[in-house]
């Protein structure tokens, strides 16, 4: 299975997805004008991955900012992970937010309330 490795840009996050190890990492800013196009490769890989997923799948999400156009795409990603979990596989979601960034913490809580997955809320120090 393929490995996705996308470098970060000022408008898009770094994405690393190693299907073999069951590791997904999304890190940085997500403010592209066309978010659907940007997240398409990841969403499609997760769809494939769902047919024979690792257990556990570990997901680390550390976003500095994301725009509302990305918020739906991130939900899409989480919903695919939710369905993997529903098939009886363990899915670990680590949601990182900078200390004092209540908005990002709240964003994680919002997602947690929508998808049926437990999030580990991880506070990180500001660099």
């Amino acid at each position: 299975m393929e490995i996705i490795a996308i470098e970060s840009t000022p408008k898009t996050p770094a994405i690393k997805f190693d299907a073999k190890k069951g590791r997904l990492e999304i890190k940085g800013r997500s403010i592209p004008e066309n978010s659907v196009e940007f997240y398409k490769p990841l969403v499609e890989s997760l769809e494939q991955y769902a047919s024979s997923p690792n257990s556990p799948t570990q997901v680390d999400i550390q976003l500095e900012y994301f725009n509302t156009a990305s918020s739906k795409c991130i939900l899409d990603v989480l919903k695919r992970l939710e369905s993997i979990h529903r098939q009886g596989n363990q899915v670990i979601i680590n949601w990182y937010y900078e200390e004092d960034d209540e908005d990002m913490r709240e964003a994680g809580e919002d997602y947690q309330a929508i998808v049926n997955l437990a999030f580990n809320m991880q506070q990180v120090e500001v660099e």
């Binding site: 403010i31 004008e33 978010s35 900012y65 509302t68 908005d103």
Partner: protein
């Protein structure tokens, strides 16, 4: 045009950046970079910086995706293309962001209704409204689905101040003024 007058006005209103012209993806990137480095130079608080930045992203991307082009109707492409105006100013303890763009008259009522609904909601309900649109809402390829406006209201905790100026039978000019306080 009296440039000194213009200078004085921008000075009085503490305008950090003002732009009128075509809205392209490259331009948005540049504006965001300029404002970010200006806020760094002013040693703006990290929290405020984030808030201003993300509100700007939403406002500018709204312009990018949704503005209408009067020249398409008149056929006079030299006249105006995807042109809009954008301004950001800093007062003592708040930022003022103003955007202005053409909008088709048939969209005015819908947009007004959407903003009035948002303005009427207390913070807790705004949060629920956001989650509802995120989870069930119809999002176009462009993103949005009205989520941007809800997000701005939620982050600023202030009403969306807007104005529609009728231009002709087909178009109005839509002005949006967003206040960002600490």
């Amino acid at each position: 045009m009296d440039i000194h007058d213009f200078y004085d006005k921008m000075d009085r209103d503490n305008i950090l950046l003002s732009f009128k012209g075509d809205i392209t993806a490259e331009l948005l990137t540049s504006i965001l970079q300029i404002i970010e480095s200006k806020m760094d130079n002013m040693q703006e608080e990290p929290k405020m910086k984030k808030k201003v930045y993300i509100v700007l992203v939403e406002l500018l991307q709204n312009l990018y995706h949704h503005m209408d082009d009067p020249s398409l109707e008149t056929g006079n492409t030299a006249d105006a293309s995807r042109t809009a105006i954008f301004m950001i100013g800093k007062e003592q303890n708040h930022y003022n962001v103003i955007t202005g763009n053409y909008i088709k008259n048939d969209k005015v009522t819908g947009l007004k209704k959407k903003m009035d609904e948002i303005n009427a909601l207390p913070p807790e309900q705004l949060k629920e409204h956001y989650k509802k649109i995120l989870n069930n809402g119809q999002m176009s390829d462009k993103g949005g689905g009205g989520l941007g406006m809800v997000d701005i209201a939620r982050r600023t905790g202030k009403p969306l101040f807007y104005q529609f100026t009728p231009i002709n039978d087909n178009f109005s000019f839509f002005t949006l003024n967003i206040v960002i306080e600490q």
